[in-house]
Symmetry: C2
Subunit: 478 residues, 2 copies
Amino acid sequence: MAEDKKLVEDITSMDEDFSQWYTDVVLKADLADYSSVRGCMIIKPYGYALWENIQKELDRRFKATGHENVYMPLFIPESLLQKEKDHVEGFAPEVAWVTHGGEEKLTERLCVRPTSETLFCQHFASVVKSYRDLPKLYNQWCSVVRWEKTTRPFLRTMEFLWQEGHTVHATAEEAKEETIRMLNVYAEFCEDFLAIPVIKGKKTDKEKFAGAIETYTIESMMHDGKALQSGTSHNFGDKFARAFNIQYTDRNNQLKYVHETSWGMSTRIIGAVIMVHGDNNGLVLPPKVAPTQLVIIPVSPHKEGVPEKAREVFQRLSGIVRAKIDESDRMPGWKFAEYEMRGVPLRLEIGPRDLEKEQAVLVRRDNREKIIVPLAELESRVPQVLEQLQQSLFEKAKRMMDSRIYTAGSMEELESTAANLPGFIKSMWCGSRECEDLIKDRTGMTSRCIPFEQEKLSDRCVCCGKEAKHMVYWGKAY
Amino acid sequence: MAEDKKLVEDITSMDEDFSQWYTDVVLKADLADYSSVRGCMIIKPYGYALWENIQKELDRRFKATGHENVYMPLFIPESLLQKEKDHVEGFAPEVAWVTHGGEEKLTERLCVRPTSETLFCQHFASVVKSYRDLPKLYNQWCSVVRWEKTTRPFLRTMEFLWQEGHTVHATAEEAKEETIRMLNVYAEFCEDFLAIPVIKGKKTDKEKFAGAIETYTIESMMHDGKALQSGTSHNFGDKFARAFNIQYTDRNNQLKYVHETSWGMSTRIIGAVIMVHGDNNGLVLPPKVAPTQLVIIPVSPHKEGVPEKAREVFQRLSGIVRAKIDESDRMPGWKFAEYEMRGVPLRLEIGPRDLEKEQAVLVRRDNREKIIVPLAELESRVPQVLEQLQQSLFEKAKRMMDSRIYTAGSMEELESTAANLPGFIKSMWCGSRECEDLIKDRTGMTSRCIPFEQEKLSDRCVCCGKEAKHMVYWGKAY
């Protein structure tokens, strides 16, 4: 069997139809399935194992930065949701309403939480009294519901799983520091653990979270050049504190409002893993997040000594990496294709000839490189190859992203690049909503962020020609 | 300060008002708080850390028995809930109904899952085709909602966190084995990890789960003699399979119905931890589940060498147990009371005299025993004392339970024991619903279970005098 052959024939090719390719991978790699509930998906064992690895690693990073987990109610009374004006305007149109409990009609409707700022605020108002109670650094793992019109597995579902951090601080500076700190936690997590390069920046006023004074974001680029907002961190200043009357007594016995942040990452990030690393043979998983890092496939398993040796290797490697052995009666070729489709980073083939030579063959999922390794060296070489693979995936994704970031000095350039070249475009911007809207009308692109790493491309806004305030990344977004 | 003094004055005494004692402990040990959402609680960091330890350990045991985690939708369309007749009768009266999404009225109401059998069944019907697809051993961690009239933190809340296992099998025997296997997982978890002794048995038809052919249960006894159903495991036979048409082709190419089970444990179990081990000074946590196993309190911390030595001890013990050091400016007496209230199993006091003698004082939370330990031996002694403490808690709880199990040979005896002695009563029973109902009317007790360990107390039903079928445990239940 030629190794460069497309092994799994039933995945649509990326170039042919990227959206169909995505759906094929989600379904055929057994990550998720559709349910009979409009807009809600079923996360299958393989997809959930991915999410568990993401959770475990993020949770570790949250705890290492001093955060504690809590759990707030699933429901928000309508009157509570309405307490902060900008927030309710943003969310009320897209919530699910509970109107009946059992047989009884409720006197006040409850919405199923689309996000929990209001609940956290109410709780903070009751537990924060003095500067001694600050900061409170909370996080919650839960599911939330937003009544979306069109949905796609992981990318946009009516219900999704996420974590939402909510913190209150004594000063505006501390809240801002926290917002940036958590954005950095997200960025490092994406780059180190998921091998997804990101651009860090601030959202424009138009794109920021309902109720926030500043929203920070990490933006990543998918294989089709589109952007995926991968994590956001919001600084609320004292806006919610004023709406919910969250005050504390400072060291000088003065009543002060707290300053608040929130930040979230969701199962959406699994969509990014698929669309950044995947290829025409299916999923490609970075080793750090892969539920199975290495699959062992005995070749000619009826030959003497082969199954025994394969099992011995499996035993030896099990404590070192997340290994699996497939001794089923399927043909090796079928197995190769199956585990490629499921994105297992490394496979280990072992057959009669390998036994003779006291070696095994490692095959990398990302580039199909074959690496012949003496059996005695497996314990040291396998983790090494996985590490190299993790690194390669990041570098490849980084090259892909960097090579598709364009610069536009005029509206003509912006429009023609947006029409012809998938990717992000950077340009100068005056800061006005009018130009932002016009650019969207003309190109279908929204402002992804005002990146922290600013460049001065020119003095003038790409759209109106007035004085430029920022360099902005524009992109078509998921 | 006398060590036998009641240190925390603001917890109601158990004997005075057990229910108020419970509420005081929940609130003052900072486990949970009330929310503005009727019947929903806020799980605070300390309570959630307990739940995380429970989750981690249960999840490990589920995975060790071959189960995989998945995630199903939060909502169940009304028509889907209605597919199994007994199930909908049991649950429809206590569900929350979503009738509107955003501005739009739904054509079909969605209930917020009270439990997910119907969703799992629909999924199984779509993914199970052949005997090769069986068994499917799934579990889900999530929150569920039941529209309860009266609620109490952890014990009965409108929304609660739990896990629900759902499995399908080729044969009735395998489903029964799974049901018993998971009951045993729960029982061992309670006894080994939470130090809570349990009675294993089968529910009567009246008390079984809506839609099950058999429900198995573990029952534990609280400090006030009342029962808490701590985990249940249901065998559905092929009832749901028929309602949802879940069929597979067996090895002989025959179409067969699958056999199904489900099993669950919830945040309720935290209520059991509180009410089995707690005392008049607050919470008492078994070391295995305690978020903090050891708290280090420097005594006379202004004295030379004390804070340094306390920190050194903290460093040394941190990798071995979940340790914490309290160097705040509160008085040691305040700290002692605080960590006793929070149930921290062990405290380590270290002061100037201890420095001189190169020792530290360990104080057990459960019995206040003081153990003087040479500093050089801390690494070996602390884990040892924690293990002994874990064991003592189990034995003490077992003695408490065993000493409060009474036997009744007649209705008079049953009634007078139920009226006068808190605890469980065992008696013979004919198996009829009439006698079960009559016993409830006369004593306020329900059948807790038909225990696996049967004894033949007599030949006759305690109520009607007809031939007895089983020995039953009766009790007042939470």
